[in-house]
Symmetry: D2
Protein backbone atom coordinates (compact mmCIF):
# COMPACT_ATOMS: atom_id res chain seq x y z
CA UNK A 1 0.00 0.00 0.00
CA UNK A 2 1.83 2.95 -1.35
CA UNK A 3 -0.04 5.45 0.78
CA UNK A 4 1.61 4.31 4.01
CA UNK A 5 4.60 6.21 5.37
CA UNK A 6 6.45 3.40 7.07
CA UNK A 7 9.06 5.68 8.63
CA UNK A 8 6.89 8.41 10.09
CA UNK A 9 3.41 6.98 10.11
CA UNK A 10 0.39 8.92 11.26
CA UNK A 11 -2.70 7.38 12.86
CA UNK A 12 -4.26 4.93 12.13
CA UNK A 13 -0.76 3.71 11.31
CA UNK A 14 1.93 3.12 13.92
CA UNK A 15 5.34 1.55 13.77
CA UNK A 16 6.07 0.76 17.38
CA UNK A 17 5.57 -2.70 18.87
CA UNK A 18 5.06 -1.60 22.43
CA UNK A 19 2.91 -4.61 23.27
CA UNK A 20 5.85 -7.00 23.06
CA UNK A 21 9.58 -7.02 23.73
CA UNK A 22 12.06 -6.72 20.89
CA UNK A 23 12.81 -10.38 21.26
CA UNK A 24 9.18 -11.43 21.08
CA UNK A 25 8.69 -9.13 18.12
CA UNK A 26 11.46 -10.90 16.22
CA UNK A 27 10.05 -14.31 17.04
CA UNK A 28 6.59 -13.22 15.94
CA UNK A 29 7.92 -11.82 12.67
CA UNK A 30 10.03 -14.87 11.93
CA UNK A 31 7.17 -17.27 12.65
CA UNK A 32 4.74 -15.26 10.59
CA UNK A 33 6.99 -15.07 7.54
CA UNK A 34 7.76 -18.76 7.76
CA UNK A 35 4.11 -19.74 8.16
CA UNK A 36 3.45 -18.68 4.57
CA UNK A 37 5.03 -21.98 3.54
CA UNK A 38 2.02 -23.73 5.08
CA UNK A 39 -0.40 -22.07 2.67
CA UNK A 40 -2.61 -24.26 0.49
CA UNK A 41 -3.43 -21.84 -2.31
CA UNK A 42 -3.37 -23.64 -5.66
CA UNK A 43 -6.11 -21.39 -7.05
CA UNK A 44 -5.02 -17.86 -6.19
CA UNK A 45 -1.30 -18.73 -5.87
CA UNK A 46 -1.41 -16.05 -3.19
CA UNK A 47 0.23 -17.18 0.03
CA UNK A 48 -0.78 -15.40 3.22
CA UNK A 49 0.08 -16.21 6.81
CA UNK A 50 -0.98 -15.12 10.25
CA UNK A 51 0.59 -15.66 13.65
CA UNK A 52 -1.31 -14.90 16.82
CA UNK A 53 0.34 -14.22 20.13
CA UNK A 54 -2.28 -15.12 22.73
CA UNK A 55 -2.71 -13.26 26.01
CA UNK A 56 -1.04 -16.09 27.84
CA UNK A 57 1.99 -16.11 25.61
CA UNK A 58 1.35 -18.85 23.09
CA UNK A 59 2.11 -18.48 19.39
CA UNK A 60 -0.46 -19.85 16.92
CA UNK A 61 0.36 -19.97 13.20
CA UNK A 62 -2.07 -20.04 10.30
CA UNK A 63 -2.09 -19.80 6.53
CA UNK A 64 -4.76 -19.65 3.87
CA UNK A 65 -6.50 -22.88 2.83
CA UNK A 66 -8.37 -22.65 -0.47
CA UNK A 67 -10.93 -24.84 -2.19
CA UNK A 68 -12.03 -25.73 -5.72
CA UNK A 69 -15.27 -24.03 -4.73
CA UNK A 70 -13.79 -20.60 -4.18
CA UNK A 71 -16.37 -19.61 -1.57
CA UNK A 72 -15.10 -22.35 0.75
CA UNK A 73 -11.67 -20.74 1.05
CA UNK A 74 -10.51 -19.91 4.57
CA UNK A 75 -7.96 -17.12 4.92
CA UNK A 76 -4.82 -17.23 7.04
CA UNK A 77 -6.28 -15.03 9.76
CA UNK A 78 -9.32 -17.23 10.25
CA UNK A 79 -7.23 -20.39 10.17
CA UNK A 80 -5.06 -19.03 12.98
CA UNK A 81 -8.09 -17.83 14.95
CA UNK A 82 -9.98 -21.11 14.90
CA UNK A 83 -6.79 -22.93 15.87
CA UNK A 84 -6.37 -20.61 18.84
CA UNK A 85 -10.01 -20.76 19.87
CA UNK A 86 -10.26 -24.55 19.82
CA UNK A 87 -6.95 -24.56 21.65
CA UNK A 88 -8.75 -22.76 24.45
CA UNK A 89 -7.24 -19.34 23.68
CA UNK A 90 -9.86 -16.71 22.98
CA UNK A 91 -7.90 -13.66 24.01
CA UNK A 92 -5.22 -12.38 21.68
CA UNK A 93 -2.44 -9.99 22.59
CA UNK A 94 -1.26 -9.35 19.04
CA UNK A 95 -1.97 -10.67 15.55
CA UNK A 96 0.64 -10.61 12.79
CA UNK A 97 -0.10 -10.97 9.08
CA UNK A 98 2.16 -11.30 6.07
CA UNK A 99 1.50 -11.71 2.37
CA UNK A 100 3.60 -12.57 -0.66
CA UNK A 101 3.78 -8.91 -1.58
CA UNK A 102 6.31 -6.11 -1.73
CA UNK A 103 4.17 -3.95 0.50
CA UNK A 104 2.02 -5.04 3.43
CA UNK A 105 -1.51 -6.38 3.02
CA UNK A 106 -4.53 -5.89 5.24
CA UNK A 107 -7.08 -8.56 6.21
CA UNK A 108 -10.18 -8.98 4.06
CA UNK A 109 -13.58 -8.01 5.45
CA UNK A 110 -14.50 -11.58 6.36
CA UNK A 111 -11.41 -11.88 8.51
CA UNK A 112 -11.88 -8.47 10.09
CA UNK A 113 -15.32 -9.69 11.16
CA UNK A 114 -13.92 -12.89 12.66
CA UNK A 115 -11.05 -11.04 14.38
CA UNK A 116 -13.70 -8.71 15.80
CA UNK A 117 -15.50 -11.59 17.50
CA UNK A 118 -12.42 -12.32 19.58
CA UNK A 119 -11.27 -8.79 20.23
CA UNK A 120 -11.56 -8.29 23.97
CA UNK A 121 -9.52 -5.10 24.19
CA UNK A 122 -11.19 -1.93 25.37
CA UNK A 123 -12.28 0.18 22.40
CA UNK A 124 -11.38 -2.78 20.19
CA UNK A 125 -7.73 -1.79 20.23
CA UNK A 126 -6.35 -5.18 19.25
CA UNK A 127 -2.95 -4.51 17.65
CA UNK A 128 -2.41 -6.04 14.23
CA UNK A 129 1.13 -6.17 12.89
CA UNK A 130 1.41 -6.12 9.11
CA UNK A 131 4.58 -7.38 7.44
CA UNK A 132 5.50 -7.47 3.78
CA UNK A 133 6.92 -10.60 2.12
CA UNK A 134 10.40 -10.46 3.67
CA UNK A 135 9.65 -8.50 6.81
CA UNK A 136 11.50 -5.41 5.61
CA UNK A 137 8.34 -3.34 5.92
CA UNK A 138 6.25 -3.19 9.08
CA UNK A 139 3.22 -1.22 10.22
CA UNK A 140 0.85 -1.57 13.15
CA UNK A 141 -2.89 -0.96 13.04
CA UNK A 142 -5.71 -1.55 15.48
CA UNK A 143 -8.75 -3.68 14.71
CA UNK A 144 -10.98 -0.71 15.51
CA UNK A 145 -9.43 1.18 12.59
CA UNK A 146 -9.83 -1.73 10.18
CA UNK A 147 -13.48 -2.41 11.00
CA UNK A 148 -14.96 0.80 12.37
CA UNK A 149 -18.48 0.63 13.78
CA UNK A 150 -18.38 -3.10 13.60
CA UNK A 151 -21.33 -5.42 13.86
CA UNK A 152 -20.49 -7.66 16.81
CA UNK A 153 -21.95 -9.96 19.46
CA UNK A 154 -23.44 -7.01 21.33
CA UNK A 155 -25.56 -6.02 18.34
CA UNK A 156 -27.30 -9.37 18.26
CA UNK A 157 -28.04 -9.13 21.96
CA UNK A 158 -29.56 -5.73 21.34
CA UNK A 159 -32.30 -7.02 19.06
CA UNK B 1 -25.27 2.73 17.86
CA UNK B 2 -25.50 5.13 20.72
CA UNK B 3 -22.33 6.96 19.76
CA UNK B 4 -23.85 8.51 16.66
CA UNK B 5 -25.20 12.07 16.82
CA UNK B 6 -27.98 11.83 14.26
CA UNK B 7 -28.78 15.55 14.39
CA UNK B 8 -25.33 17.05 14.08
CA UNK B 9 -23.12 14.23 12.87
CA UNK B 10 -19.41 14.60 12.35
CA UNK B 11 -17.38 12.64 9.80
CA UNK B 12 -17.44 9.77 9.06
CA UNK B 13 -21.15 10.33 9.68
CA UNK B 14 -23.34 12.52 7.51
CA UNK B 15 -27.06 13.09 7.38
CA UNK B 16 -27.56 14.60 3.99
CA UNK B 17 -28.73 12.58 1.01
CA UNK B 18 -27.20 14.78 -1.65
CA UNK B 19 -26.85 11.91 -4.10
CA UNK B 20 -30.59 11.64 -4.64
CA UNK B 21 -33.66 13.88 -4.71
CA UNK B 22 -36.00 14.04 -1.72
CA UNK B 23 -38.49 11.98 -3.66
CA UNK B 24 -36.00 9.27 -4.53
CA UNK B 25 -34.80 9.26 -0.94
CA UNK B 26 -38.33 8.54 0.27
CA UNK B 27 -38.79 5.76 -2.25
CA UNK B 28 -35.46 4.23 -1.28
CA UNK B 29 -36.32 4.36 2.41
CA UNK B 30 -39.79 2.94 1.93
CA UNK B 31 -38.52 0.09 -0.24
CA UNK B 32 -35.71 -0.70 2.15
CA UNK B 33 -37.95 -0.85 5.23
CA UNK B 34 -40.50 -2.97 3.39
CA UNK B 35 -37.88 -5.38 2.06
CA UNK B 36 -37.26 -6.65 5.60
CA UNK B 37 -40.43 -8.67 5.16
CA UNK B 38 -38.60 -10.75 2.56
CA UNK B 39 -36.05 -11.96 5.10
CA UNK B 40 -35.64 -15.69 5.64
CA UNK B 41 -34.08 -15.71 9.11
CA UNK B 42 -35.53 -18.56 11.17
CA UNK B 43 -32.26 -19.02 13.06
CA UNK B 44 -31.23 -15.53 14.13
CA UNK B 45 -34.76 -14.06 13.97
CA UNK B 46 -32.88 -10.95 12.88
CA UNK B 47 -34.40 -9.39 9.79
CA UNK B 48 -32.18 -7.14 7.71
CA UNK B 49 -32.81 -5.58 4.33
CA UNK B 50 -30.87 -3.73 1.68
CA UNK B 51 -31.99 -1.69 -1.30
CA UNK B 52 -29.55 -0.64 -3.98
CA UNK B 53 -30.11 2.28 -6.30
CA UNK B 54 -28.01 1.50 -9.35
CA UNK B 55 -26.21 4.14 -11.40
CA UNK B 56 -28.83 3.85 -14.10
CA UNK B 57 -31.72 4.37 -11.72
CA UNK B 58 -32.96 0.89 -10.92
CA UNK B 59 -33.92 -0.20 -7.40
CA UNK B 60 -32.83 -3.68 -6.28
CA UNK B 61 -34.10 -5.10 -2.98
CA UNK B 62 -32.50 -7.77 -0.84
CA UNK B 63 -32.90 -9.38 2.56
CA UNK B 64 -30.93 -11.92 4.55
CA UNK B 65 -31.30 -15.61 3.69
CA UNK B 66 -30.07 -17.96 6.41
CA UNK B 67 -29.29 -21.67 6.51
CA UNK B 68 -29.34 -24.55 8.99
CA UNK B 69 -25.57 -24.55 8.48
CA UNK B 70 -24.97 -21.07 9.82
CA UNK B 71 -21.90 -20.49 7.65
CA UNK B 72 -24.06 -20.68 4.52
CA UNK B 73 -26.08 -17.60 5.51
CA UNK B 74 -26.13 -14.75 2.99
CA UNK B 75 -26.77 -11.28 4.38
CA UNK B 76 -29.18 -8.73 2.93
CA UNK B 77 -26.42 -6.63 1.40
CA UNK B 78 -24.93 -9.54 -0.51
CA UNK B 79 -28.33 -10.75 -1.62
CA UNK B 80 -29.06 -7.34 -3.12
CA UNK B 81 -25.61 -7.12 -4.68
CA UNK B 82 -25.73 -10.47 -6.46
CA UNK B 83 -29.22 -9.65 -7.71
CA UNK B 84 -27.95 -6.39 -9.14
CA UNK B 85 -24.81 -7.90 -10.64
CA UNK B 86 -26.57 -10.74 -12.41
CA UNK B 87 -29.11 -8.16 -13.53
CA UNK B 88 -26.25 -6.50 -15.39
CA UNK B 89 -25.87 -3.64 -12.91
CA UNK B 90 -22.39 -3.46 -11.42
CA UNK B 91 -22.32 0.24 -10.59
CA UNK B 92 -24.25 1.43 -7.59
CA UNK B 93 -25.22 5.02 -6.84
CA UNK B 94 -26.40 4.39 -3.27
CA UNK B 95 -26.98 1.44 -0.98
CA UNK B 96 -29.55 1.53 1.83
CA UNK B 97 -29.63 -0.87 4.79
CA UNK B 98 -32.14 -1.35 7.58
CA UNK B 99 -32.32 -3.74 10.51
CA UNK B 100 -34.95 -4.69 13.04
CA UNK B 101 -33.33 -2.41 15.59
CA UNK B 102 -34.04 0.84 17.40
CA UNK B 103 -30.79 2.30 16.17
CA UNK B 104 -29.14 1.80 12.81
CA UNK B 105 -26.91 -1.17 12.01
CA UNK B 106 -23.79 -1.34 9.87
CA UNK B 107 -22.90 -4.11 7.43
CA UNK B 108 -20.81 -7.02 8.66
CA UNK B 109 -17.25 -7.44 7.43
CA UNK B 110 -18.17 -10.03 4.81
CA UNK B 111 -20.63 -7.63 3.23
CA UNK B 112 -18.24 -4.70 3.39
CA UNK B 113 -15.83 -6.86 1.40
CA UNK B 114 -18.46 -7.70 -1.21
CA UNK B 115 -19.66 -4.09 -1.43
CA UNK B 116 -16.02 -3.12 -1.95
CA UNK B 117 -15.74 -5.30 -5.04
CA UNK B 118 -18.43 -3.25 -6.76
CA UNK B 119 -17.48 0.18 -5.49
CA UNK B 120 -16.46 2.13 -8.54
CA UNK B 121 -16.48 5.58 -6.93
CA UNK B 122 -13.27 7.55 -6.69
CA UNK B 123 -11.67 7.06 -3.29
CA UNK B 124 -14.29 4.37 -2.63
CA UNK B 125 -16.85 6.99 -1.69
CA UNK B 126 -19.92 4.83 -2.24
CA UNK B 127 -22.65 6.32 -0.04
CA UNK B 128 -24.39 3.88 2.30
CA UNK B 129 -27.64 4.99 3.91
CA UNK B 130 -28.39 3.40 7.26
CA UNK B 131 -31.95 3.35 8.59
CA UNK B 132 -33.29 2.02 11.87
CA UNK B 133 -36.34 -0.25 12.03
CA UNK B 134 -38.98 2.36 11.25
CA UNK B 135 -36.89 4.87 9.35
CA UNK B 136 -37.02 7.46 12.11
CA UNK B 137 -33.23 7.46 12.35
CA UNK B 138 -30.95 7.97 9.36
CA UNK B 139 -27.23 8.37 8.87
CA UNK B 140 -24.99 8.26 5.81
CA UNK B 141 -21.54 6.72 5.66
CA UNK B 142 -19.10 5.98 2.85
CA UNK B 143 -17.74 2.53 2.08
CA UNK B 144 -14.21 3.86 2.48
CA UNK B 145 -14.95 4.63 6.12
CA UNK B 146 -16.46 1.22 6.79
CA UNK B 147 -13.63 -0.76 5.21
CA UNK B 148 -10.52 1.40 5.35
CA UNK B 149 -7.44 0.10 3.56
CA UNK B 150 -9.48 -2.59 1.97
CA UNK B 151 -8.18 -5.64 0.21
CA UNK B 152 -9.62 -5.41 -3.29
CA UNK B 153 -9.20 -6.56 -6.88
CA UNK B 154 -6.13 -4.36 -7.31
CA UNK B 155 -4.26 -6.14 -4.55
CA UNK B 156 -4.54 -9.46 -6.33
CA UNK B 157 -3.27 -7.91 -9.52
CA UNK B 158 -0.30 -6.58 -7.60
CA UNK B 159 1.00 -9.99 -6.63
CA UNK C 1 -18.18 -36.21 -15.99
CA UNK C 2 -17.10 -39.08 -18.11
CA UNK C 3 -18.82 -41.68 -15.94
CA UNK C 4 -22.29 -40.60 -16.95
CA UNK C 5 -24.12 -42.46 -19.69
CA UNK C 6 -26.19 -39.66 -21.13
CA UNK C 7 -28.14 -41.91 -23.48
CA UNK C 8 -29.12 -44.74 -21.16
CA UNK C 9 -28.54 -43.38 -17.69
CA UNK C 10 -29.08 -45.43 -14.56
CA UNK C 11 -30.11 -44.00 -11.20
CA UNK C 12 -29.18 -41.59 -9.73
CA UNK C 13 -29.05 -40.26 -13.29
CA UNK C 14 -32.11 -39.68 -15.44
CA UNK C 15 -32.62 -38.01 -18.77
CA UNK C 16 -36.31 -37.30 -18.79
CA UNK C 17 -37.76 -33.90 -17.95
CA UNK C 18 -41.15 -35.12 -16.82
CA UNK C 19 -41.66 -32.18 -14.48
CA UNK C 20 -42.05 -29.72 -17.35
CA UNK C 21 -43.38 -29.64 -20.88
CA UNK C 22 -41.04 -29.80 -23.86
CA UNK C 23 -41.62 -26.14 -24.42
CA UNK C 24 -40.82 -25.16 -20.86
CA UNK C 25 -37.76 -27.38 -20.98
CA UNK C 26 -36.45 -25.51 -23.99
CA UNK C 27 -37.08 -22.15 -22.36
CA UNK C 28 -35.34 -23.29 -19.18
CA UNK C 29 -32.34 -24.57 -21.12
CA UNK C 30 -32.06 -21.45 -23.25
CA UNK C 31 -32.30 -19.14 -20.25
CA UNK C 32 -29.80 -21.15 -18.27
CA UNK C 33 -27.19 -21.20 -21.06
CA UNK C 34 -27.65 -17.50 -21.68
CA UNK C 35 -27.39 -16.62 -17.97
CA UNK C 36 -23.73 -17.60 -18.01
CA UNK C 37 -23.07 -14.24 -19.65
CA UNK C 38 -24.08 -12.60 -16.36
CA UNK C 39 -21.23 -14.24 -14.47
CA UNK C 40 -18.74 -12.03 -12.64
CA UNK C 41 -15.78 -14.39 -12.42
CA UNK C 42 -12.55 -12.50 -13.01
CA UNK C 43 -10.61 -14.77 -10.65
CA UNK C 44 -11.57 -18.30 -11.67
CA UNK C 45 -12.59 -17.36 -15.24
CA UNK C 46 -15.14 -20.12 -14.71
CA UNK C 47 -18.63 -19.03 -15.70
CA UNK C 48 -21.54 -20.93 -14.19
CA UNK C 49 -25.25 -20.20 -14.36
CA UNK C 50 -28.42 -21.41 -12.71
CA UNK C 51 -32.04 -20.93 -13.64
CA UNK C 52 -34.80 -21.82 -11.21
CA UNK C 53 -38.36 -22.56 -12.25
CA UNK C 54 -40.44 -21.80 -9.18
CA UNK C 55 -43.53 -23.75 -8.21
CA UNK C 56 -45.71 -20.93 -9.44
CA UNK C 57 -44.07 -20.79 -12.83
CA UNK C 58 -41.56 -17.99 -12.58
CA UNK C 59 -38.03 -18.24 -14.01
CA UNK C 60 -35.18 -16.85 -11.89
CA UNK C 61 -31.68 -16.62 -13.37
CA UNK C 62 -28.39 -16.53 -11.50
CA UNK C 63 -24.67 -16.66 -12.17
CA UNK C 64 -21.57 -16.80 -10.03
CA UNK C 65 -20.30 -13.57 -8.43
CA UNK C 66 -16.71 -13.76 -7.21
CA UNK C 67 -14.60 -11.58 -4.94
CA UNK C 68 -10.97 -10.61 -4.47
CA UNK C 69 -11.29 -12.42 -1.15
CA UNK C 70 -12.04 -15.82 -2.59
CA UNK C 71 -14.11 -16.93 0.40
CA UNK C 72 -16.68 -14.25 -0.35
CA UNK C 73 -17.57 -15.79 -3.72
CA UNK C 74 -21.22 -16.68 -4.26
CA UNK C 75 -21.96 -19.43 -6.77
CA UNK C 76 -24.61 -19.30 -9.48
CA UNK C 77 -26.97 -21.62 -7.60
CA UNK C 78 -26.95 -19.49 -4.47
CA UNK C 79 -27.33 -16.29 -6.44
CA UNK C 80 -30.43 -17.68 -8.10
CA UNK C 81 -31.79 -19.01 -4.81
CA UNK C 82 -31.47 -15.77 -2.86
CA UNK C 83 -33.05 -13.92 -5.77
CA UNK C 84 -35.99 -16.29 -5.71
CA UNK C 85 -36.34 -16.24 -1.92
CA UNK C 86 -36.34 -12.48 -1.60
CA UNK C 87 -38.75 -12.45 -4.51
CA UNK C 88 -41.13 -14.36 -2.27
CA UNK C 89 -40.57 -17.72 -4.00
CA UNK C 90 -39.33 -20.39 -1.62
CA UNK C 91 -40.64 -23.43 -3.47
CA UNK C 92 -38.81 -24.57 -6.55
CA UNK C 93 -40.14 -26.94 -9.18
CA UNK C 94 -36.85 -27.43 -11.02
CA UNK C 95 -33.35 -26.02 -10.92
CA UNK C 96 -31.11 -25.95 -13.99
CA UNK C 97 -27.32 -25.50 -13.91
CA UNK C 98 -24.79 -25.04 -16.68
CA UNK C 99 -21.05 -24.54 -16.69
CA UNK C 100 -18.45 -23.54 -19.26
CA UNK C 101 -17.50 -27.17 -19.72
CA UNK C 102 -17.77 -29.90 -22.32
CA UNK C 103 -19.51 -32.17 -19.84
CA UNK C 104 -22.02 -31.22 -17.18
CA UNK C 105 -21.01 -29.95 -13.75
CA UNK C 106 -22.62 -30.57 -10.39
CA UNK C 107 -23.17 -27.99 -7.64
CA UNK C 108 -20.50 -27.59 -4.97
CA UNK C 109 -21.22 -28.67 -1.42
CA UNK C 110 -22.04 -25.16 -0.24
CA UNK C 111 -24.72 -24.84 -2.88
CA UNK C 112 -26.13 -28.31 -2.22
CA UNK C 113 -26.56 -27.19 1.40
CA UNK C 114 -28.36 -24.01 0.37
CA UNK C 115 -30.53 -25.84 -2.17
CA UNK C 116 -31.40 -28.27 0.62
CA UNK C 117 -32.80 -25.48 2.78
CA UNK C 118 -35.42 -24.74 0.16
CA UNK C 119 -36.20 -28.25 -0.98
CA UNK C 120 -39.80 -28.87 -0.02
CA UNK C 121 -40.31 -32.01 -2.06
CA UNK C 122 -41.11 -35.27 -0.30
CA UNK C 123 -37.93 -37.31 0.15
CA UNK C 124 -35.99 -34.26 -1.03
CA UNK C 125 -36.68 -35.16 -4.64
CA UNK C 126 -36.06 -31.71 -6.09
CA UNK C 127 -35.08 -32.27 -9.73
CA UNK C 128 -31.85 -30.62 -10.85
CA UNK C 129 -31.18 -30.37 -14.56
CA UNK C 130 -27.52 -30.32 -15.54
CA UNK C 131 -26.47 -28.93 -18.92
CA UNK C 132 -23.04 -28.71 -20.49
CA UNK C 133 -21.75 -25.52 -22.10
CA UNK C 134 -23.91 -25.61 -25.23
CA UNK C 135 -26.80 -27.68 -23.99
CA UNK C 136 -25.88 -30.69 -26.11
CA UNK C 137 -25.57 -32.84 -23.00
CA UNK C 138 -28.28 -33.12 -20.37
CA UNK C 139 -28.80 -35.19 -17.26
CA UNK C 140 -31.27 -34.98 -14.38
CA UNK C 141 -30.48 -35.69 -10.74
CA UNK C 142 -32.38 -35.23 -7.51
CA UNK C 143 -31.12 -33.16 -4.58
CA UNK C 144 -31.41 -36.21 -2.35
CA UNK C 145 -28.80 -37.97 -4.44
CA UNK C 146 -26.42 -35.00 -4.41
CA UNK C 147 -26.59 -34.42 -0.65
CA UNK C 148 -27.57 -37.71 0.96
CA UNK C 149 -28.32 -37.66 4.69
CA UNK C 150 -28.24 -33.92 4.67
CA UNK C 151 -28.01 -31.69 7.69
CA UNK C 152 -31.12 -29.52 7.46
CA UNK C 153 -33.50 -27.33 9.44
CA UNK C 154 -34.99 -30.37 11.17
CA UNK C 155 -31.64 -31.32 12.69
CA UNK C 156 -31.33 -28.01 14.46
CA UNK C 157 -34.82 -28.40 15.86
CA UNK C 158 -33.84 -31.82 17.15
CA UNK C 159 -31.12 -30.51 19.43
CA UNK D 1 -31.06 -40.04 12.08
CA UNK D 2 -33.81 -42.49 12.69
CA UNK D 3 -33.35 -44.23 9.36
CA UNK D 4 -29.99 -45.75 10.27
CA UNK D 5 -29.82 -49.34 11.52
CA UNK D 6 -26.80 -49.10 13.81
CA UNK D 7 -26.67 -52.83 14.51
CA UNK D 8 -26.98 -54.26 11.02
CA UNK D 9 -26.28 -51.36 8.72
CA UNK D 10 -26.42 -51.63 4.97
CA UNK D 11 -24.33 -49.56 2.55
CA UNK D 12 -23.65 -46.66 2.55
CA UNK D 13 -23.58 -47.32 6.29
CA UNK D 14 -21.00 -49.48 8.00
CA UNK D 15 -20.18 -50.12 11.62
CA UNK D 16 -16.72 -51.56 11.45
CA UNK D 17 -13.61 -49.50 12.10
CA UNK D 18 -11.22 -51.59 10.07
CA UNK D 19 -8.95 -48.64 9.37
CA UNK D 20 -7.74 -48.44 12.96
CA UNK D 21 -7.08 -50.75 15.89
CA UNK D 22 -9.57 -51.05 18.74
CA UNK D 23 -7.26 -48.99 20.88
CA UNK D 24 -6.93 -46.19 18.36
CA UNK D 25 -10.68 -46.25 17.84
CA UNK D 26 -11.25 -45.66 21.53
CA UNK D 27 -8.74 -42.81 21.60
CA UNK D 28 -10.34 -41.24 18.55
CA UNK D 29 -13.80 -41.50 20.06
CA UNK D 30 -12.74 -40.13 23.43
CA UNK D 31 -10.91 -37.20 21.87
CA UNK D 32 -13.79 -36.40 19.54
CA UNK D 33 -16.40 -36.41 22.32
CA UNK D 34 -14.19 -34.28 24.55
CA UNK D 35 -13.41 -31.79 21.79
CA UNK D 36 -17.02 -30.59 21.87
CA UNK D 37 -16.06 -28.62 24.97
CA UNK D 38 -13.89 -26.45 22.73
CA UNK D 39 -16.86 -25.24 20.72
CA UNK D 40 -17.56 -21.52 20.53
CA UNK D 41 -21.25 -21.56 19.63
CA UNK D 42 -23.08 -18.83 21.52
CA UNK D 43 -25.54 -18.33 18.65
CA UNK D 44 -26.71 -21.82 17.74
CA UNK D 45 -25.88 -23.36 21.15
CA UNK D 46 -25.09 -26.41 19.03
CA UNK D 47 -21.71 -27.90 19.90
CA UNK D 48 -20.03 -30.03 17.27
CA UNK D 49 -16.55 -31.53 17.23
CA UNK D 50 -14.28 -33.26 14.78
CA UNK D 51 -11.10 -35.24 15.30
CA UNK D 52 -8.88 -36.16 12.38
CA UNK D 53 -6.43 -39.01 12.43
CA UNK D 54 -3.83 -38.10 9.83
CA UNK D 55 -2.09 -40.64 7.61
CA UNK D 56 1.04 -40.35 9.71
CA UNK D 57 -0.76 -40.99 12.96
CA UNK D 58 -1.41 -37.56 14.41
CA UNK D 59 -4.71 -36.59 16.05
CA UNK D 60 -6.09 -33.13 15.26
CA UNK D 61 -9.14 -31.84 17.16
CA UNK D 62 -11.60 -29.18 16.04
CA UNK D 63 -14.89 -27.67 17.09
CA UNK D 64 -17.27 -25.14 15.59
CA UNK D 65 -16.44 -21.44 15.91
CA UNK D 66 -19.39 -19.14 15.26
CA UNK D 67 -19.71 -15.43 14.61
CA UNK D 68 -22.22 -12.63 15.19
CA UNK D 69 -22.40 -12.51 11.40
CA UNK D 70 -23.75 -16.02 10.95
CA UNK D 71 -22.16 -16.46 7.53
CA UNK D 72 -18.70 -16.24 9.08
CA UNK D 73 -19.22 -19.38 11.16
CA UNK D 74 -16.69 -22.16 10.67
CA UNK D 75 -17.85 -25.70 11.46
CA UNK D 76 -15.93 -28.26 13.51
CA UNK D 77 -14.87 -30.24 10.45
CA UNK D 78 -13.34 -27.23 8.72
CA UNK D 79 -11.65 -26.08 11.88
CA UNK D 80 -9.98 -29.47 12.24
CA UNK D 81 -9.05 -29.56 8.56
CA UNK D 82 -7.37 -26.17 8.43
CA UNK D 83 -5.48 -27.03 11.63
CA UNK D 84 -4.24 -30.23 10.03
CA UNK D 85 -3.37 -28.60 6.71
CA UNK D 86 -1.36 -25.76 8.19
CA UNK D 87 0.25 -28.35 10.42
CA UNK D 88 1.59 -29.90 7.24
CA UNK D 89 -0.86 -32.82 7.22
CA UNK D 90 -2.94 -32.97 4.06
CA UNK D 91 -3.68 -36.68 4.05
CA UNK D 92 -6.26 -38.00 6.45
CA UNK D 93 -6.73 -41.64 7.45
CA UNK D 94 -10.02 -41.14 9.27
CA UNK D 95 -12.26 -38.26 10.34
CA UNK D 96 -14.56 -38.49 13.37
CA UNK D 97 -17.49 -36.17 14.06
CA UNK D 98 -19.79 -35.83 17.04
CA UNK D 99 -22.68 -33.53 17.81
CA UNK D 100 -24.71 -32.71 20.92
CA UNK D 101 -27.47 -35.01 19.71
CA UNK D 102 -29.04 -38.33 20.65
CA UNK D 103 -28.39 -39.68 17.18
CA UNK D 104 -25.40 -39.05 14.95
CA UNK D 105 -25.09 -36.00 12.71
CA UNK D 106 -23.57 -35.70 9.27
CA UNK D 107 -21.38 -32.85 8.01
CA UNK D 108 -23.04 -29.91 6.25
CA UNK D 109 -22.48 -29.40 2.55
CA UNK D 110 -19.81 -26.75 3.05
CA UNK D 111 -17.76 -29.15 5.11
CA UNK D 112 -18.28 -32.03 2.71
CA UNK D 113 -16.81 -29.77 0.03
CA UNK D 114 -13.79 -28.92 2.17
CA UNK D 115 -13.26 -32.55 3.21
CA UNK D 116 -13.40 -33.41 -0.48
CA UNK D 117 -10.47 -31.14 -1.25
CA UNK D 118 -8.23 -33.21 1.01
CA UNK D 119 -9.58 -36.65 0.22
CA UNK D 120 -6.71 -38.49 -1.40
CA UNK D 121 -8.21 -41.99 -1.18
CA UNK D 122 -8.98 -43.88 -4.34
CA UNK D 123 -12.64 -43.46 -5.29
CA UNK D 124 -12.87 -40.84 -2.54
CA UNK D 125 -13.27 -43.55 0.09
CA UNK D 126 -12.22 -41.44 3.06
CA UNK D 127 -13.85 -43.06 6.12
CA UNK D 128 -15.88 -40.74 8.32
CA UNK D 129 -16.86 -41.96 11.78
CA UNK D 130 -20.05 -40.48 13.16
CA UNK D 131 -20.71 -40.55 16.91
CA UNK D 132 -23.70 -39.35 18.86
CA UNK D 133 -23.35 -37.16 21.96
CA UNK D 134 -22.04 -39.82 24.34
CA UNK D 135 -20.51 -42.21 21.86
CA UNK D 136 -23.14 -44.89 22.42
CA UNK D 137 -24.06 -44.79 18.74
CA UNK D 138 -21.54 -45.17 15.94
CA UNK D 139 -21.73 -45.45 12.18
CA UNK D 140 -19.13 -45.22 9.42
CA UNK D 141 -19.64 -43.59 6.05
CA UNK D 142 -17.35 -42.72 3.16
CA UNK D 143 -16.92 -39.21 1.78
CA UNK D 144 -17.92 -40.49 -1.66
CA UNK D 145 -21.35 -41.36 -0.30
CA UNK D 146 -21.81 -38.00 1.42
CA UNK D 147 -20.82 -35.90 -1.59
CA UNK D 148 -21.47 -37.99 -4.70
CA UNK D 149 -20.30 -36.59 -8.01
CA UNK D 150 -18.42 -33.90 -6.22
CA UNK D 151 -17.01 -30.77 -7.74
CA UNK D 152 -13.30 -30.93 -6.96
CA UNK D 153 -9.89 -29.67 -8.01
CA UNK D 154 -9.95 -31.80 -11.15
CA UNK D 155 -13.04 -30.04 -12.45
CA UNK D 156 -11.33 -26.67 -12.39
CA UNK D 157 -8.39 -28.09 -14.28
CA UNK D 158 -10.81 -29.41 -16.87
CA UNK D 159 -12.06 -25.99 -17.86
ZN1 LIG E 1 -9.61 -12.92 4.86
ZN1 LIG F 1 -23.22 -9.16 6.21
ZN1 LIG G 1 -21.49 -23.68 -5.26
ZN1 LIG H 1 -20.21 -27.78 8.25
Amino acid sequence: MSEIDFINPEPPFFNDHDEVSDETFEVLKARCLKARELSYSPYSKFKVSCTILTEDGEFVDGANVENASYGAAICAERTAIVKAVVGGKRKFKVMAISGDTKSVITPCGICRQVIREFTHQKDLKLPIYLFNCDGSLFIKMYLKDLLPLSFGPEDLNAI
